[in-house]
């Protein structure tokens, strides 16, 4: 009888201590117009790591033995399932996608939330091709300074310096032809930059930029590929063609412009893969969490007829990073990280 009581007492103690020690973590998700959002919410800030686990899932390792309020059934356009496992004092969430997708992650506070936005990856496939020519685009130039660091470094100066060094490194390591869209402090229009890459029949286009935030502590890379709504541009093209039919006029250069803007649409799948490999390597090198890749309608990427990304290498608004970026050693480490990202991407083409 006594042993029964003792067992019951220990059992109760174990249950209670587990309830007290483990934080309650809530999970929710929602489908939106062009993305799906997965949210992990906790009253306390969570310590976590993110793992890239391929095109069809993302893993988040939360530190601690956490009580997760489980989602019984996932009914989403993009999310397929959520697996929760516990290992070595950690709680691991594996969020699986129905389709190949890209993701970005950010934090919100009061209460603490980890937000993962997942977008369906543009359709396409990796085309087997040799990479012979790479075009590097040092952002801004001439009258266009770009942003200016807290200690006064103009973005245009740093992008040119960085791109020139990266060119040398690429030529030496990859044995490819590298072309810069500008070699000096001159202003080059955005469509001309893309035209340089198209005329050179480049296999990869990378636009180099440096970022700015009001928060002087923010650091790390942001890698973008083009956000493109095929239906919108196609609809515009259709409407334009119909109008031409009605007014019986000869085609103007407008139609070529719309087609030019659609050029990158065929390469979005590959661009997303290239963005991911560069983002991963740069985040690792700078020592920040990889928060995934982003999409935005960047003018310089629109007309590119090859995989094209825009890399915001780091924040020059962070005085420490700005100081480091002015040293050859630090720049070389980041240039090598971009190179590794490109090598990984090229490896996937074979």
């Amino acid at each position: 009888m006594k042993s029964h009581k003792l067992f019951f007492f220990l059992f109760l103690l174990a249950v209670l201590s587990n309830a007290v020690l483990s934080q309650d973590v809530k999970i929710r998700y929602a489908d939106h117009n062009n993305f799906s959002r997965f949210v992990i919410e906790s009253q306390e800030t969570l310590d976590y790591e993110i793992f890239y686990t391929g095109e069809f899932s993302v893993s988040i390792k939360l530190k601690g033995n956490l009580a997760i309020s489980q989602v019984k059934r996932i009914d989403s356009r993009i999310f397929n399932s959520l697996e929760v496992t516990k290992s070595e004092g950690n709680t691991i969430l594996i969020l699986k996608f129905r389709k190949s997708a890209t993701w970005k992650l950010f934090e919100l506070y009061n209460p603490f939330r980890i937000v993962v936005d997942v977008r369906e990856r543009p359709s396409g496939k990796i085309l087997k091709r040799f990479v012979r020519t790479i075009v590097l685009d040092p952002g801004h130039g001439g009258e266009e300074l770009g942003t200016v660091g807290k200690n006064g470094t103009p973005e245009k100066k740093l992008t040119l310096l960085f791109a020139k060094e990266l060119k040398q490194l690429m030529e030496r390591t990859l044995g490819v032809r590298v072309i810069l869209t500008r070699e000096d402090d001159s202003f080059v229009p955005l469509d001309e930059r893309t035209a340089i890459a198209n005329n050179a029949k480049a296999d990869i286009f990378i636009s180099i930029h440096f970022n700015y935030s009001q928060d002087p502590t923010v650091k790390g890379p942001e890698t973008y590929f083009l956000s493109y709504k095929a239906t919108d541009t196609e609809a515009r093209l259709l409407a334009y063609k119909e109008n031409l039919g009605k007014i019986k006029q000869a085609p103007s250069s407008d139609i070529e412009l719309i087609l030019w803007d659609m050029a990158q649409s065929q390469y979005l799948y590959q661009s997303s893969r290239l963005a991911e490999t560069i983002q991963m390597e740069l985040a690792d090198e700078i020592g920040v969490k990889n928060r995934g890749v982003k999409q935005a309608p960047f003018a310089v990427l629109m007309g590119a007829t090859m995989p094209a990304v825009l890399v915001e290498v780091d924040f020059i608004s962070n005085p420490n990073e700005e100081k480091l970026l002015l040293t050859r050693e630090y720049r070389t480490s980041l240039e090598k990280a971009i190179l590794r990202g490109i090598q990984k991407y090229i490896g996937s083409l074979r």
């Binding site: 977008r119 973005e155 700015y212 309608p297």
Partner: protein, 185 residues
């Protein structure tokens, strides 16, 4: 000669006295107008306060996303006025929120044409980082489309003309659609 001087002095003194009288009478009239004002003030106090409505505005944050925040604005007669009121609220945000407008940034004009709102901006020439530029644009785009029924796209022009970009990053060539993936919760 002496007579002429005396006569002139009389004229000067007389004209001074006339001017003084005119001035005093005008001052007296002014006072009576001021006295007549209080009833109007009372009337103003009694008039009903303008009708208000709630809108969700998307303010940029330092962390790199848009923060949706509910705000009250005066009810307006049409879509254009509502868009102008929303933009004014974004320009002068409540405490704790950041404005998407840089110092010196202005809204020149707002036009509504069918399902599209055309926003004509005047921004200073100093540069902006890509993520700042992205948030500035989508703060405006999302706040307009989210709150004004019938508006589905926003076209941004600068200084009355079409520009390639605001600060060398995001294309302004085509109108923007609402994109909530740039927003937090």
């Amino acid at each position: 000669m002496k007579k002429a001087i005396v006569f002139s002095l009389i004229i000067i003194v007389a004209s001074f006295l006339i001017s003084l009288l005119i001035y005093l009478s005008a001052k007296g009239k002014g006072k009576s107008t001021e006295k007549a004002e209080p009833p109007a003030m009372v009337e103003k106090d009694q008039s009903p306060s303008p009708e208000k409505e709630k809108v969700t505005l998307f303010f940029p944050t330092w962390e790199g996303f848009l923060k949706p925040q509910e705000q009250e604005i005066e009810k307006t007669a049409n879509k254009r006025e509502k868009a102008e009121t929303i933009l004014e609220k974004l320009k002068n945000p409540p405490s704790g929120a950041e404005s998407p407008f840089p110092i010196g940034g202005e809204v020149r004009k707002v036009f509504i044409t069918g399902k599209m709102a055309v926003i004509d901006l005047q921004f200073p020439s100093e540069g902006m980082g890509a993520s700042q530029e992205l948030l500035t644009i989508y703060s405006i785009v999302n706040s307009i489309i989210f709150n004004i029924e019938g508006i589905e796209e926003v076209k941004i022009v600068i200084g009355g003309i079409e520009r390639e970009t605001l600060y060398g990053h995001i294309s302004l060539k085509y109108p923007f659609y609402m994109d909530l993936s740039y927003a937090g919760e």
